[in-house]
Symmetry: C2
Subunit: 356 residues, 2 copies
């Protein structure tokens, strides 16, 4: 899934180049490329599909030249994750009704390739011949209020035969308040919802039939059209008719056979500068510095990202974000990063869409 | 005098475009233009001379199109203020031995045109038929350690016939330590040395003869050459032979007939971002903001200068300098601005002369 826009990494992320296509910290690969790298170690390129917006097709082809063009699925407009996943799964169903599928965002941080691979393979093994929906759960390490939580049933835990915990889901919860998050953390019954799902195609299609029948009806009409030259036209016709609804809200929270597999890897959705900072290498002054020609003095706890064209001199900052990209310089305390979207809005009102 | 380089307003000031040619706060006129404007209200353009470096001739002609080309005096290299002033005064002597002269830096802040004009005219009246050297003294308002001080003789004060105080100088002092500056301030006997001088040309030439005879000998050789096509060649020949010495150290401190005229205008040498801040209009959050497309939140006491090409978003800064110019972004606490020259040096070592 690579269709998101999102202004939280503005000025680096823009509508024209959202986060998944960025290498914010200059590690050499963009987020979607890193995601591709992870999956390309497990699956053949012809079995990897990217769903994205029409405007991003060129970016995908540029950044992932290995992907067959038929595997780039283009959404004519954004309709949240349920239609996006339906599109991919029904299309896969049309060519392989026995497919076993991993669904993943393209812009997350995964700290351990091998642990990731192990979790994915164990998960696929679990769903291969099962009518369960499986989601990867992250063991919480702090009372994070920015993630959804999943409560699991621990009563049968001892009966599991493998070292990898796979647990029945009791409830999905929305992002909690801090007090509630603390209770979740202490209970040991809750996992963070990573948004990475595993299931076989028959199970998910059946789930759409039962829980989102409108979406099922629409995408089911395309069974003879997917993977033909008419696919695009068909999608462009039905997509605007789809409700905009998330897979969590539309399917996962209402399905009676959902399991969590415990992740064996460090994870973050990197949805914030703060989480990007946390998951990056710090220098001896606890700064995360990316880009060339950055001169930093008496500063600590900062995340500093210089573009290609500038010299940046920073002195005396503590816990700040300093980011330069093209025409824009942002200087904001890490603690105030939630204000960035207001700032983006103000810039938009003042200067127009060009800069957002 | 417009030959200075100076890195204190880096990244705005560069060797290729020093402070006097900048409009740092975007008021519409550069410092040298503002200086020109002040003097052009008092003198005819043909009586105003600008001494600058060869490299800056084009900048002067571009910024002061009104000046006759013969009035732009080009130093082939920098030799401090004594040779600079000798050049101008001997050249003026050659065409008008009765000239009465004001010598002024080109990059100072003068807060009141009319008060300035009044002081200058009274000073010229004092030196017209006198063999005194006159310097404009600024009544100190704080124990500033960045300026030189002049102690005056107040014993004859009551006998002065005009409202404008003109006092005999007792001593010139270098930049004092803070404790000494406090004593100076309290004594009421001390003025800041503005570096603006008034004298008639015969008096200053005589002073060079007596106190800097080497310089006198050299510039005196040119009496038949100034204001001819050979002037440049002559200057290029003698200038490298001149000692590099300031007019204060070489003449003013050793002359026995120096007077101070009390300035009737607010003044600053604007030698620091801090003094630039102090002498600029503050917004309601005590920020000084120059340039377009600057978005400032929760910040105060800052001086923010955006270049032409960028959008700048600043949040949560207190008492900082934020300056963007061409390829360089500077973020530094106002209190640490003395570090800028070290930073410039580091940039120079790391990236070369291009950026300094």
């Amino acid at each position: 899934m690579a269709g998101g826009i999102g202004s939280r990494f503005w000025p680096l992320s823009r509508t024209a180049c959202p986060k998944q296509f960025l290498d914010i910290l200059g590690v050499g690969r963009t987020f979607i490329q890193q995601t591709w790298d992870r999956f390309a170690k497990i699956f053949l390129p012809e079995n990897i599909f990217i769903v994205t917006g029409e405007d991003y097709k060129e970016l995908v082809m540029l950044q992932i030249p290995e992907i067959p063009e038929n595997n780039i699925l283009l959404e004519p407009l954004r309709r949240n994750t349920a239609p996006c996943i339906a599109y991919a799964c029904y299309k896969i169903m049309a060519s392989n009704p026995n497919a076993n599928i991993v669904v993943s965002p393209s812009d997350h941080y995964i700290g351990d390739y091998l642990g990731f691979q192990d979790t994915i393979l164990k998960g696929l093994d679990f769903t291969k011949n099962s009518n369960a929906l499986l989601t990867i759960g992250i063991t919480p390490t702090r009372p994070e209020t920015g993630y959804g939580y999943i409560q699991v049933d621990l009563s049968n835990e001892d009966s599991l035969s493998t070292q990898t915990k796979i647990m029945k889901v009791k409830t999905f919860t929305e992002k909690p308040e801090l007090e509630m998050a603390k209770v979740f953390l202490e209970s040991k019954e809750f996992y963070w919802n990573s948004g990475i799902f595993i299931w076989n195609v028959k199970t998910i299609v059946l789930a759409f039939q039962q829980l989102l029948p409108d979406i099922d009806t629409m995408f089911n009409q395309g069974m003879d059209i997917y993977n033909t030259p008419e696919e695009n036209e068909f999608i462009n016709k039905i997509y605007p008719e789809c409700n905009s609804i998330s897979i969590d809200y539309g399917i996962m929270e209402n399905h009676n056979n959902v399991y969590v597999i415990q992740a064996k890897f460090p994870w973050s959705d990197l949805g914030t500068w703060g989480s990007l900072y946390e998951n990056s290498k710090h220098d001896k002054n606890e700064n995360v510095i990316a880009g060339k020609n950055v001169f930093v003095k008496n500063s600590n706890g900062c995340i500093i990202r210089n573009g290609d064209s500038k010299i940046m001199v920073v002195e005396g900052l503590k816990d700040f974000i300093v980011a330069e990209s093209d025409e824009i310089i942002l200087i904001v305390p890490k603690a105030d990063e939630q204000n960035i979207k207001n700032i983006v809005n103000e810039v938009k009102i003042s200067l127009g869409d060009e800069y957002v």
